[in-house]
Symmetry: D2
Subunit: 108 residues, 4 copies
Amino acid sequence: MQQFMQERDWKQFHNPKDLAIAISLEAAELLEHFLWKNGAEIGSRVDSHGEEIRDEAADIGIYLMELCDVLGVDLVQSMSAKLEKAGLKYPVEKSRGTSRKYTELKDD
Amino acid sequence: MQQFMQERDWKQFHNPKDLAIAISLEAAELLEHFLWKNGAEIGSRVDSHGEEIRDEAADIGIYLMELCDVLGVDLVQSMSAKLEKAGLKYPVEKSRGTSRKYTELKDD
Amino acid sequence: MQQFMQERDWKQFHNPKDLAIAISLEAAELLEHFLWKNGAEIGSRVDSHGEEIRDEAADIGIYLMELCDVLGVDLVQSMSAKLEKAGLKYPVEKSRGTSRKYTELKDD
Amino acid sequence: MQQFMQERDWKQFHNPKDLAIAISLEAAELLEHFLWKNGAEIGSRVDSHGEEIRDEAADIGIYLMELCDVLGVDLVQSMSAKLEKAGLKYPVEKSRGTSRKYTELKDD
C-alpha cells in the first residue's frame, strides 16, 4: 500500500482531515447499497452486489490504514485498547441483548 | 472481538445495513475533530486530541471487521485485490502527483 | 441567520468545504437516532426523541442555507430545477413503486 | 415535491431512517467535490462544477423537506427555534471569532 501511494506521489494529499473525509465518503458509498432496502432485501443486495460491497469495504480499510500510517498509530493495537474501554462502558450483564447506548443503559 | 460481541448477544443487531451506518457514524465522529480546522490547525488537533482520534479510528476498524465477519469477507485480501484494481485505473505515469479522479485523468 | 453568524464573526470559517463537512456531520447525528432500530422501533424513536430529531433536521437546514448563501445560490429555485431534472431521469411509468436507481430502471 | 413523490408512489419507502440515510449520502456527494482540495482550490471547484454542486445542495434540501413532511415538522420554524437555542449556547461575547465548540468555550 505504501508503495502504491509513493509511486503516485500521493502522500502530499494525505493529511488527516482529507483522509477522514475520504473514509467518510467510502462509508457513504458502502451504505448506498442498502438505501431503501430493509429486511430480506438487505441480504439480496449482498448476494447481487457482493463484489462492489467488498470493494467499498476494502476502500474504507485502505484509507483507514493510510490515516493510521500518517498518524503513526498502530490500528490493531488501538482496536484492542478500544474494545477494552468499551467493555467497561458496556458491562456484559447490563448490555446483553440491548442496542442501547451506554448513556442510556439502565440498572435492571 | 467476536467474544466481545457474543458475550453481549449483539450479533442480532449486526446486519450489513446497520453496520454500514455504524461505520459512517464513526467516520463522522473522526471527521468532527477537523471541522473548521485547516493547515497547521489540523496537526495541532492531532497533538491535542490524539487519544480520541485514535479511538475513533479504532471504532471504524472494529465495525469494519465486524461487517466483514457478517459478510464472510477477508478484509486484507479484499484490500489487496482493490489496490490491484486501483493500479489499473490509476496508472503511475498518469496519476503521479495529481489528486484527480480516474474519470478526469488526462493524457499527458 | 445572517445576523447570528455576523454577530459571532463566524463567516470567516464558512468556506464551502467546511460547510459541506458540517452538513455531513449533522446528517450523521440525525441518522444516529435510528442506528440498530428497524420497523416499529423507528417510529418509537421519533416519539421518544422528537425534539432532538427536529433539532438535528434544523441544524442540517441551517448549514445548508449558509452554504447556499456562501455560494450565492437560491436553494428553493435549485430544488425545483433539480426536481424537474429528476422527473426526466425517473419517468412516472418506469419508476412508479420501485426504489431502483435510474441507472437500474428497466423497460417494462 | 409532494406531487412528484406521489405520482411515483415513493412515499412507501420514505421512513425517517432511510430518509436520514438519503440526506447523509447526498451530503457525501456534495463533500466529494472538495476532497483533497484546499485553500484556493475550493473556490476553483465551485467555479468549475457549479451546477453539480447546486444539484447536490438541492438534493439535500429535497430529502430534508421530505423528512420534515414525514415527521410532521415545520422546518423553518425548527430552524428558527434551533438558532435561538444556539444563541444561548454560544453567547456573542464568548464565541465571537472562534470556531470552538460550546463545550470548549472559555471565559475570557
